[in-house]
Amino acid sequence: MPLGGIIFLAVFIAIFGALMLFLGSRGGTRVYDPVKFEPYECGVPAQDKKDTKISVKFYLTAILFIIFDIEIIFMYPWATTFKDFVKSGNGLFVLISMFVFIAIFIFGLFWEVKSKALEWD
């Protein structure tokens, strides 16, 4: 089972990264300057504005991504078994049922494009 190896490697890399961070934090001179610890604003004093504007496009992209991602995942088991289905003579049935699914997918994509949900500017 590769799971043990995966967990081992993940923990190892996390420790390695923490060690690198520790090493990096040891070196270097330390000169205190309050301006240094402000977030980068190209040298201009930071204007503290707390009202973040919600940009619809980011989360709409993420939502549409989830939906299409699942449709693509549904194609994976079909893709692995399609050759076996064709060899056993059921190919046409599976091909058509998948094409119905892909047609729904294409319709959805087409609708998103038409309704300008996929416009970024």
């Binding site: 919600i54 989830i66 729904i104």
Partner: protein, 176 residues
């Protein structure tokens, strides 16, 4: 103690701790990250049950897609700390916790009572994972074909609905 048992206990502890963190921590961003950790833990638990394909799908769909959406929305909202994270009222809160505790006791009790009648298959019976993935595909395209196509339609409807919701100006009474 077999390696499988050690892995199970590690993963179980990680998953349960992350799940409890989701509920108890007041900053919703940490909640979302803890939930992502719980999803990864559950995915690893699927691997211990030899459901490799489902584990991968869990990683892609839940840990990869759904939780990224949550984290993105939370970061857009910029809710650093909630003033009131939990429901008001000590008595109603206590009643709710008691209900949850009773449900937990009920479920665990039921599992404990019926554990003798639950299936105890030996490891030899389970098929190899290569076959399992192909079998899964075959099952999906023969017996469960209707459900599969219906889900395609459902996803289309959800996509349309989400776009419509995102377009709405956020009010019910304004007329344009």
């Amino acid at each position: 103690m077999t390696p499988d048992a050690i892995l199970f206990w590690i993963l179980a502890v990680v998953t349960v701790v992350s799940a409890i963190t989701v509920v108890l921590i007041t900053n919703p961003i940490y909640s979302a990250l803890a939930l992502a950790m719980a999803m990864i833990g559950i995915s690893a638990l699927f691997v211990t049950l030899n459901a490799y394909f489902i584990a991968g799908v869990q990683l892609i769909v839940y840990a990869g897609a759904v939780m990224v959406l949550f984290v993105m929305v939370l970061m857009l909202f910029d809710l650093r700390h909630e003033l009131q994270a939990f429901t008001r009222g000590k008595i109603s809160g206590a009643v709710k916790i008691a209900c949850v505790g009773m449900l937990a006791g009920l479920v665990v009790g039921a599992i404990y009572m019926s554990s003798s009648s639950l299936i105890h298959a030996s490891a030899a019976e389970t098929m190899s994972s290569v076959d399992a993935t192909k079998q899964l595909g075959k099952l999906l395209f023969t017996q469960y074909l209707f459900g599969f196509e219906a889900l395609g339609v459902l996803l289309l409807v959800v996509a349309v609905g989400c776009v419509a919701l995102a377009r709405s100006k956020g009010g019910t009474h304004e007329h344009h």
